[in-house]
């Protein structure tokens, strides 16, 4: 059956999947767009609000700071892991070390552990009397010990660093696969030309990995935009001084605690639009590679 043979029976095969998808994903998304045009507390009748809920996205302090926090998280969830991933993957590739398979298994592990478990584990490690502070005190750095998740100045960064811990495994594995596709001759040639470590990285590895970097950046940025479990569990109620509110948290809080369902829906639609745009980039780039 070569692809392309016309068969009407195809509809029967796709209908079940489309039905569930339409009812429980596509319809809710459209419904969300509709709700976002109302001011609604979820109980009584809503009142038409037009685009007001979208306009306040940029005007309201609480929301602006939530999107601002998301930007900070992008630094930790996306930029830092990509840099770390590039350094680690190219070092590993250059030195042809043993134990690569073991290393890959270990660094990818945080990707499969439930976020709630990750959050609980790090919350204990970062606790005032947790192992991190104990270690700092043990080496005489008492001044550096903090209530990491309880202070306004450190909470968001602490959550961000956990994101770095989670995402670096993804970037390392992605880049290792990418470097594996680069022809060895390119490296040979670079070395014959007398290129050092940095030169080789800049003129061989980096250009060849550009599609992989784009994929990694997009995936990790999307992950940071969607972050909910981590902040919700590590820093309840938006964190100290609401310093760790993020868009996904605002959706939950507004819809189910504050009775601002329309506003929550507007944030959701905006988030979807952002993720769509980013995914379009990744599909283009990844599509070009295959």
């Amino acid at each position: 059956m070569p692809a392309g043979e016309p068969r009407r029976v195809g509809y029967l095969y796709v209908v079940p999947a489309l039905a569930v998808y339409g009812a429980f994903l596509l319809f809710p998304l459209l419904h969300s767009a509709w709700i976002s045009l109302f001011e609604w507390d979820g109980l009584t009748l809503g009142t038409w609000a037009g685009l007001d809920n979208y306009l306040t996205l940029f005007a309201e302090d609480g929301l602006r700071s939530a999107f601002g926090h998301a930007l900070v998280l992008i630094l930790f969830f996306a930029v830092l892991p990509v840099i770390l991933g590039l350094v680690l993957a190219s070092a590993l590739h250059r030195s042809r070390v043993r134990g690569l398979a073991f290393f890959r298994t270990v660094v990818f592990l945080p990707q499969v552990v439930a976020m709630v478990v990750v959050a609980v584990a790090w919350q204990q490690i970062l606790a005032p009397d947790g192992p991190l502070n104990a270690a700092l005190r043990a080496v005489g750095l008492d001044a550096l010990a903090h209530n990491w998740l309880g202070e306004e100045s450190t909470a968001l960064i602490a959550v961000g660093l956990v994101g770095t811990w989670v995402q670096t495994g993804l970037t390392v594995v992605l880049f290792l696969a990418g470097i594996g596709r680069i022809s060895g001759e390119l490296y040979e040639a670079a070395r014959l030309d007398g290129a050092g470590v940095f030169r080789e990285f800049r003129s061989v590895t980096l250009p060849a990995l550009r599609p992989d970097i784009a994929v990694a950046l997009t995936l990790t940025v999307i992950a940071s935009l969607r972050t909910f479990d981590l902040v919700y569990v590590m820093t309840p109620l938006g964190g100290p001084g609401e310093s760790t509110t993020v868009p996904a948290y605002e959706i939950y809080y507004r819809a189910f605690q504050a009775g601002q369902v329309g506003s929550a829906a507007a944030i959701g639609v905006t988030l979807t639009a952002l993720v769509f745009a980013l995914s379009a980039v990744v599909l283009r780039v990844a599509g070009g590679r295959r």
């Binding site: 059956m1 070569p2 692809a3 043979e5 016309p6 068969r7 009407r8 029976v9 195809g10 095969y13 796709v14 079940p16 999947a17 489309l18 569930v20 429980f24 994903l25 596509l26 809710p28 998304l29 419904h31 969300s32 070092a91 590993l92 042809r96 070390v97 660094v107 592990l109 499969v112 552990v113 439930a114 976020m115 709630v116 478990v117 609980v120 584990a121 919350q123 670096t168 495994g169 594995v173 696969a177 040979e188 070395r191 995936l219 999307i222 969607r226 479990d229 919700y232 569990v233 996904a248 939950y252 819809a255 369902v261 929550a264 959701g268 988030l271 979807t272 993720v275 769509f276 990744v282």
Partner: protein, 268 residues
């Protein structure tokens, strides 16, 4: 390609440091789970797991999670195979548009649909049921699953299919007797990914369920953590129980996890 011994040693050092960094929280939670409940008391205490299982009700939470995960995996795999088969091997009017419509679902963040889903399911009386935990996750998994299975069916050998057809096999037999047995690796990858996504899902369970009897494992852990009486070793034991099924599966089927998550990367 050779590098100096120093560089190699440096690489090993970085490798070791980074592996330690990646493993530390995992090992810490594992060792803490085995520590005594009373501070200052030494020795190994594997009975923490038993206490978490019964008193922490993790036995119940894991049971709910298992039911939800099995239902989501079975349903979404079946629907994905059927639709992926049609999209990959047949041509019918609108098939391209329908496929892209489904593909759109891969990128819809669950955070964006959880709000309307809550009110829709409330209106039809489905809150606090297994259906509320299962069906939305099937919808999300099917978007990825169809994309994944279609790729497999497109790459499967046309000559095998042609031979089966000459033997008189219809489209139904070709799917179940020929293509699917050959496609076990692709299906297995889909199964482990959907299992992981479902098992680790948190927000949906948080919103859809208030009945304690329907709490999934991650949700149960969150409530266990919120209890004032919970000791750190018991919390750690609960965490291990929640993470264990996926981690064990990962250790055995690592290639499937990595390949699926990199290839099908846009879903999350």
């Amino acid at each position: 390609m050779t590098v100096s011994r120093w560089e190699r040693a440096g690489t090993y050092l970085v490798l070791l440091l980074f592996a330690g960094y990646a493993l530390y929280p995992v090992l810490w939670i594992l060792f803490t789970a085995l520590r005594s409940d009373t501070a200052g008391q030494g020795g190994w205490h594997p009975e923490n797991f038993l206490t978490a299982w019964t008193q922490g009700r993790f036995g119940d939470y894991l049971g709910t999670s298992l039911i939800v995960a099995v239902a989501v995996v079975a349903l979404s795999t079946l629907l994905s195979v059927l639709a992926g088969y049609a999209f990959g091997t047949m041509r019918f009017r609108g098939s391209g548009a329908l496929f892209y419509l489904l593909l759109l679902g891969v990128t819809i963040p669950s955070q964006a649909v959880v709000v309307p889903l809550y009110f829709d399911l409330r209106d039809v009386g489905l809150l606090d049921t297994y259906a509320a935990l299962v069906l939305p996750q099937v919808a999300q998994s099917v978007a990825f699953g169809v994309f994944w299975m279609r790729a497999y069916f497109r790459s499967s050998s046309a000559s095998v299919v042609e031979a089966a057809r000459l033997d008189g096999a219809g489209h139904w037999q070709i799917l179940w007797r020929v293509l699917l047995p050959m496609g076990r690796p692709a299906v297995l990858t889909l199964v482990v990914l959907v299992f992981m996504w479902t098992w680790n899902e948190f927000l949906l369970a948080l919103v859809m369920v208030t009945d304690e009897g329907l709490r999934t494992a991650p949700l149960g852990l969150r409530f266990f953590q919120g209890r004032a009486t919970t000791s750190v070793p018991l919390l750690a034991a609960g965490s291990v129980l929640v993470a264990l099924p996926v981690v064990v599966l990962y250790l055995f089927l690592q290639r499937h996890f990595i390949r699926g998550m990199l290839d099908g990367a846009v879903k999350g």
